[in-house]
């Protein structure tokens, strides 16, 4: 009678051991949110500065170029300052969470703008210029695994986010995005983003240096974003204020 429990447990021992062996493997596997958080960290540090060139290519072959200096701090603070062309020089945008202000030198004061308003013409909008971390703006709704990629379906956390949902293809090996399809709430494809040209930015940051955008809404138009001097930098919180952000050029 005394060994009867052991006898009863013996058949369960093997499956239990197998289950225990599987636990670490499950813990090691990343869930969608973890993948997205890692994608964010692989793309950029939490607080950083960077230079970007935006190139709008038009169907007739002409192009317009914009150069921006950007500072980001934490989850929701960001400033973007136009350095070129001359007609846009000094124009700056500040984002604090869902609040966005635009400073135009000739107007001489910051104006609160609606977050969906475009700062410059062309295919780019605020979402492209003042993008925070993906994980701040989106939650993972679905994760699919393919041979070399993860396929994440992301849903906007609030209606303030420009694109209602994203389908993000993430390279498994480096956990870097390769393609992002941006959709409206109606399901309509608004634009597709394609990352390329993996580059070592220093400080352990190896990520794409080029982002290409096209949109079925602007047939024949393309936009290229080139990234440079992306590095860790943390500045004072006061820079991200109405009185401080127009002077961000002084911090370069």
């Amino acid at each position: 009678m005394n060994d009867s429990p052991n006898r009863l447990l013996r058949p369960l021992l093997l499956p239990l051991c197998a289950l225990l062996l599987m636990v670490p493997a499950t813990a090691l596997a990343l869930d969608g949110e973890q993948i997205l958080a890692q994608v964010d960290r692989n793309l950029q540090p939490r607080s950083y500065e960077m230079y970007r060139k935006l190139i709008n290519l038009e169907p007739d072959g002409s192009r317009r170029e914009f150069v921006l200096y950007t500072l980001k701090k934490g989850e929701d603070k960001m400033v973007a300052l136009f350095l070129a062309p001359a007609s846009e020089k000094g124009r700056a945008t500040l984002r604090l969470g869902e609040n966005i202000w635009l400073y135009i030198p000739k107007v001489g004061r910051p104006i609160r703008i609606t977050s969906l308003q475009s700062v410059i013409g062309g295919v780019f909008n605020n979402a492209d210029i003042l993008r925070l971390d993906f994980s701040s703006e989106y939650r993972v709704e679905q994760l699919r695994e393919e041979d070399a990629h993860y396929l994440l379906t992301l849903k906007a956390r609030t209606t303030a986010v420009a694109y209602d949902s994203l389908i993000m293809e993430v390279e498994k090996k480096r956990l870097l995005p390769t393609t992002i399809a941006c959709h409206a709430a109606s399901g309509m494809l608004i634009k597709t983003l394609r990352y390329s040209e993996i580059k070592d930015f220093g400080g352990g940051l190896v990520r794409p240096a080029r982002l290409e955008t096209d949109s079925p809404l602007h047939k024949g138009y393309r936009s290229i974003m080139l990234f440079a001097r992306l590095r860790n930098r943390s500045v004072s919180d006061e820079v991200f204020s109405l009185n401080g952000f127009a002077k961000v050029d002084e911090l370069r």
């Binding site: 190139i55 170029e65 062309p85 609606t114 013409g121 290229i224 204020s241």
Partner: protein
Amino acid sequence: MNSGREPVRDSCTPSRSPGRACPAVLRAARRAALACMTALACLAATAGDDFSFEPEEFAKSPLTTGGYLEASWEHLDLNQDSALSRLRQDQDLPASRDRLAGAVQLDGSYLKGIAGLHWLLKAAGQLDDQGWLDHADIFASYLSLSPGPQLELSLGKQSYRWGKGYAWNPVGFLNRSKDPNNPEETLEGYLTAEAEWIRSSSALVENIALTGVVLPVWQGVNEEFGRRDQLKLAAKLYLLFRDTDIDLLWYSGSDGSSGSNRSSSFGLDFSRNITTNFELHGELAHSPGRERIILEADSTTATARESLTSWLLGLRYLNRWNLTTILEYYHNGSGYSTEELDRFYQLGAEAEQALSREQREQLLNQARKLSLQGYGRPNPGRDYLYARFSLREPGEILYFTPALTTIINLEDRSCSLTPELLYTGLSNWEIRLRFALLLGSSQSEFGEKLNSNRLELRLRAFF
């Protein structure tokens, strides 16, 4: 034709006609040609994708400069019978006027350590039937000191843009009056000493900024602020509270007996995004003892000291077609009633009917003086509605923005209606075509302006 869907044959059937080429060879050749063309197109595209970015070209330099050159042409149909035209009866007013104008604006700064020197210079000239007129002004020139991110001190001439309103700013106690038809234009500053303290936190009030301003009134300096040899004080406290911008503003101005319209005032303004495409803003200003120059019923000029309140409520709305609507209602406490404006418009008519030349001159001089003292400002009435509708890039025409602006005097129902076309598609160029139509009966604000319409073409080249 080979559609490309045809099954590929891997062998050549012997030709029945010796002079005919094998179809499979032809197809292969065609495919090879297509492949070559595709490859060449890809190469061309790759060659065209010659995108380089050298951020060193944009390295920070202590000296930064910029500005623009402007050329414009204007055609005005003059309202020869209007009250404001009568004030200029020393000149023969033509039925219309064409004007060519040019301007240059230079801005820049030189930074060294915590110190900076900033400037904004503007020179403009115009040529019309009255001849050549030009002027050059220092709009801003000041020294700044930034001992840290939380503190900035400045001394010199700088412009103030207090308030949240787009067309008007009742709380703009230190602002130079702006033209609601061109509210974004650069304005000349005032000589001041200023200190600004900023503090950010993660509490309910995310940002606090306190700005203190000392404004001296000397001979030739800031004289519109009151009597000479006085120091005026102003302060603004900014709060970002629960995603709402709030300003509390105060100005210690003239005592009401100096003839200045910049009397002591206090006020507040706010701005908030209600939804992602809807912004609401407002301003409220109160002057406990403000002087107002009034033309009495017996044509004498009187000075009234009154407690006046002005306010503005506005919104900005972006719809799904990229149409931005700005609407503002403005109550101008220091404005003139329809009756008071009628008397002023009548003064010119009385001058015309005067029996003697001396009496005529006297009445005209009185009207000119009143015009400068308030009756002649861009919007002298009490209640206004401003509306601007601008459509960004309609029909997928990038960098093109048509807009329609209207300013309505709600008391006399006169208005201005201004359609415009703006194109910024050429790098560093801005082209604007604008037509302003002034509508209103006689004895109404817009019916008594100098011109009845204006067509303007303006080119700006930025550098």
